[in-house]
């Protein structure tokens, strides 16, 4: 029973970060209908920025979020303006290829600059943990989870109550209608891609203290982000949040009860089952 609760708990904690990655992807998809295959590489950039700030200036990874997130936001906005904007009306295949290409450029650009060596960001609390009702809670995972919860809450507030947030949601619902209502759709697209990128970067920063950092780290996260988003329903933020937690728990439980080498395999099988039997996800698009 302890083993079950323990792995359930760490699954939920990791799932929070997955949720953050998924929310970023789903916002981008919702507003632009573009599937971002470079999402994991944006996360990787977030990791490297965090690692750089930590090794150069000794800034704590959670504090450096204040730098990482805005930097990644600007980077995403730039990518949208220069590249993604040009293929908004192109075939979906070409959009996918463009983002794959951008991802390759980012990961290999970083590799050229920083070599493919594994970097580790070790904080004083990297391997320490709390004891809670007989369960051990990893400190960095817990902090990451709390930050995730705060950011998700702030994001909900932003999207639900502010004018800009509502404009973004309106663009996601119906681009043409939003434009007719006087919403600057182009600006919303730039904002949405920036926001999605910032979320991916934030997730990268939160993962940095517990993960190896290397240029190719993004690939598996891209795929996982898709699983999270499809599970929750493309474009649904609540769905992505639930999907993230669910994937985290699935991974963690199958690592214990199936085999640690097969935890991702189980996730992909789950993904295929969802695609086949409930393609609109657990929560459909309508609840965006």
């Amino acid at each position: 029973m302890t083993v079950f609760l323990q792995s359930l708990l760490s699954g939920i904690l990791v799932g929070g970060v997955y949720a953050l990655i998924g929310i970023g992807l789903t916002i981008i998809f919702g507003v632009m209908r573009v599937i971002n295959f470079a999402h994991g590489d944006l996360l990787m950039l977030g990791m490297y920025v965090t690692w750089g700030l930590f090794t150069l200036f000794g800034i704590d990874p959670y504090l450096s979020l204040l730098v990482t997130a805005p930097v990644l936001f600007l980077w995403g906005a730039l990518l949208q303006k220069v590249f993604i904007n040009r293929v908004l009306n192109a075939l979906p295949q070409n959009q996918i290829l463009l983002t794959i290409g951008l991802g390759l450029v980012m990961s290999n650009g970083v590799m050229l600059g920083f070599t493919s060596d594994y970097r580790i960001l070790t904080t004083t609390y990297s391997s320490s943990s709390f004891q809670l009702f007989g369960l051990s809670v990893s400190q960095p995972l817990l902090y990451s989870f709390l930050v995730t919860v705060a950011i998700t809450a702030a994001l909900f507030w932003f999207l639900q109550t502010t004018d800009t947030g509502q404009a973004i949601r309106a663009t996601a619902q119906d681009r043409d209608a939003a434009q007719l209502m006087g919403i600057n759709v182009k600006r919303m697209s730039v904002l949405a891609f920036g926001l999605g990128t910032a979320l991916a970067g934030t997730a990268g920063a939160l993962l940095a203290p517990t993960y190896y950092i290397f240029p190719q780290v993004g690939g598996p996260f891209t795929l996982k982000a898709f699983v999270v988003v499809v599970l929750g329903g493309m474009g649904s933020i609540v769905g992505a949040t639930l999907g993230g937690i669910l994937i985290g728990v699935t991974e963690s439980l199958s690592a214990v009860y199936v085999a640690s080498g097969l935890k991702e395999l189980v996730v992909y099988v789950l993904f295929l089952l969802i695609l086949l039997f409930r393609p609109s996800g657990l929560l459909g698009k309508s609840r965006t």
Binding site: F83, I96, L104, V105, S116, G219, A259, E264, L265, Y268
Partner: protein
Amino acid sequence: MRALLPTLRAPRGFSAPAFLAYLAVIALVALVPQLSRKPLILHMWIMVFLAIAQGSAWNVVGGYAGQYSVGHAAYFGMGAYITMLLLELHQVAPWYGIAVAVAGSVLLSVIIGSITFRLRGPYFVLASIAMAEIIRLAALHFKDLTRGAEGILLSSIPPLETRWFTVRFLGKVPFFYATLGLAVIVISVNWLVQHTKLGYTFQAIREDQDAAHSLGINPTLHKNLALMISAAFTASAGGLFALYVRFVDPNIAFGIDVSVQMVLICIIGGIGTILGPVVGSVVLVLLSETLRNPKWLVQAGLLGDESPTVAFIEGRLSNAHVLFYGVLVVLVVLFAPDGFLGLLRTAVARVKRRLAARRSPPGQPAGAA
């Protein structure tokens, strides 16, 4: 199903001069090892042939049937693994091994196809990636069967002995002819797909699946047929590749970059055309092999022994070939969505129009004839 059977009369679109030119090019290329046996040069040719085989095989399902599979590593890896496992563990000669590998991969393609072809567009892309990843993770995990991440190292390839000749798989020449043969076959298959009824059904599905369905084409069946053809040749390329490099591991065989590269070859050359994958393979292989090992330029006599270019590439750019892939893809998608071949066609058309304009009397709009 009549289109599947060989017909005696020449299929539509057949032109004798073009066919003779094709044969002449093959004959010329086949002479290469007789003229020069510099290993790095032959290596370049072999890599180009393998890339053509993979790209053209993907083109059948991706280019003609319009199903953007980004999971073709599953068939490539299956071809490589079955061939290597049979040879190394059970001493089955590779020419039988590749036949078994092809059969296995076609079977796999039927399974994968019947699952993923229920989905369309981006969902199909994602499902195809997930399938290849599932197989890669399984190959990493089930060590008893595949030796896991350790991979399989080939000790030796038995000689092929027939009544008339004996082929020893030493050096690169046998692989030159084997891969050339495969490339020629797959290019011919692309030609058939473009010009026969079966191929027309693929193209109809690509243009509008629902319209094709309403005309009596069974989309699932025909998409699966396209995938089976594609998988068979992808697996052959995988088997030959593994024999050539004498090593295979889950990431080399099933890695997502294998799948992506097949798509890139077609995109960069020109998707859904016969020559597109050929052009794309030449561009990509020249680029990546030059950056990885620029010494071939010296062997080709293009650069001197002490050339600073070689030193520069080896020192600075040896890891950058994927970066260049990425830049190339971004440029192609943004500025030349029909690939290099499309660029060439537009350029030719422009020159023709200029010439026509020059010939037509002034005052008339160019190309008005």
